[in-house]
């Protein structure tokens, strides 16, 4: 099974999710509905809805509530992207001009708030306190992760632990919640819930590690955003942390000077860093950790009986480290 098969197995559900996302992006306020329409066009990979749907299905849940929560998590994800793009000053997102470039930072901030509020409003209608509690705590963590990242920006470090903590909060926590929701909807018991929570956390870690590796090596046209974005924005990710730890004193100083300089990083400086990253195998190092996370994650799914949905979920885990963009 490959990722395309997963998409075709879930086609009807994902269509329903798209419908509900579009409905929630609509508003009687014209500027909001314009931006909402634009956002629904620039479709992401919908990894988070896929996680909600598949974890629901392996727990025997097939009803409408998995569509609702798929929409909830995707709206939250979209809201964070809108705010992140303002924070990062990003010009592109998913291959298109970002909302902040097209409508301005002000609109992006407010539309992000609107999407957050919409997601909570959708949850409030479904009245599942366990899920509301889980998602609220997750959104707190995500904001903390983003603030930690901001606090550490433009400061080169050898500290892998803080980086892991940041990606745990800003990315893995939501994917973990997505998987947990499936277990809650299926209502199968604590063991299933814990396993999926942990599975989601691991593949979430892998997802962000791969993202951070791809930022240095992907083809720009496939990635849909500019290359070495993290380096340019002072976001210190694992490839750079590993490199900094690995190189000798002269190169250490060179890297520090480039990263911590007040000036915009120049093309040849980026080239220098990419050359070093290739030479010292830091992409392999990063991808190696990601792969280990995925392997550990998959083992935790042993408690579920075999089915096409379980296969699909394991395929998603593999896709996370195999994707090229």
């Amino acid at each position: 099974m490959d990722f395309e098969n997963v998409l075709s197995i879930l086609k009807n559900d994902l269509d329903d999710v798209e419908g509900l996302i579009s409905k929630n992006l609509g508003s009687s306020v014209p500027l909001l509905s314009d931006i909402g329409y634009y956002l629904s066009g620039g479709r992401g990979k919908r990894i988070r809805p896929i996680l909600v749907l598949l974890s629901s299905k392996i727990n025997g849940y097939e009803g409408i509530r998995s569509i609702i929560y798929s929409t909830v998590v995707e709206l939250i994800h979209m809201a964070t992207l809108l705010h992140d793009d303002v924070v990062d000053g990003a010009e592109k997102r998913r291959g298109s001009v970002s909302v902040n470039s097209k409508w301005g930072n002000q609109a992006s901030i407010l539309v992000g708030d609107y999407l957050f509020a919409k997601s909570f409003s959708l949850m409030a209608e479904d009245k599942d306190n366990k899920i509301i509690d889980s998602i609220s705590r997750t959104v707190v963590k995500m904001a903390e992760g983003e603030v930690m990242q901001l606090a550490g920006s433009y400061k080169i470090t050898e500290d892998e632990k803080t980086y892991m903590e940041i990606i745990n909060r800003k990315t893995a926590s939501l994917m973990s919640s997505c998987c947990k929701i499936g277990a809650i909807l299926g209502n199968n018991g604590r063991k299933e819930e814990r396993s999926l929570l942990s599975f989601g956390l691991d593949i979430g870690m892998a997802f962000q590690l791969v993202d951070d590796a791809l930022d240095y090596v992907a083809k720009e046209d496939k990635l849909g955003k500019s290359l070495c974005k993290d380096l340019k924005e002072g976001n210190i990710t694992l490839p750079l942390i590993h490199l900094y730890r690995t190189v000798n004193g002269t190169d250490k100083k060179r890297i520090k000077d480039i990263v911590e300089s007040d000036n915009i990083i120049e093309k040849d400086q980026i080239g220098l860093i990419i050359d070093m990253i290739m030479k010292y195998g830091t992409i392999d190092y990063t991808m190696g950790i990601a792969k280990k996370y995925v392997e550990t994650a998959k083992e935790k799914m042993n408690i579920f009986s075999d089915s096409k949905y379980l296969k699909a979920l394991l395929t998603v885990a593999d896709y996370i480290v195999e994707r090229k963009f």
Copy 2:
């Protein structure tokens, strides 16, 4: 009874609210706790917690949950202020340097998100679906109001209706929810709930009308933010709308040119507009509408039996139009 008496009647409760706000502004993430500490220092008027507390008390509710929801609504309010200050590029807030000036827009956006999430997390712990539903819908409305305001900025208009719609959503809806929460906590019935919902909406409208009037006439040092902020930021409020509708063709063109110009508004242009606003009585007009809202609001409280808490709530309503900052 005056507003100071209200504060002293509620002293113990408000101290508890401050404690819970501080607790929720704390975080293991240093940058978050620094900003949290700064925010708890720059104390606002705490009108929203006061509304929750008093509406709870006139409905016979005296427990801890009114402290929790007072904190929830104040955290939401603080989150919107952080985001508004970024949207407006505000340099001052409550007499101090704004968070966006001190820590940057990025931190303000993310800390705002954090406070939103915290408020929902607090609500999730209390598990009252009716309140979660009401607050979520309110936060959606608030975001819509802010987007409507942004969409209409730097465009002079005679359209009072859209302005009323904007302040209804961005300000009155939350005050309305505050009062409704009190009725829900007291669990006294639909009539009490509807009356308080409507009371809160009316005084919320009055509150924003007075804010918008004060922006043109208050003493800058008392207001804690710079004067004619709305005019400078292209936020078209009732005093300006009424003025534009009232003046003759030549002055109309003059106002339009000033408001819609791409250049920063100059001191003498602001002086010109303030002179006209004084001459045509648009502040009296605005304050007149605010006063009517407060009168209507107070009448709706007839269904409650007399008590010091009811007197206090009516005093808050009066204070809203009497305050000078």
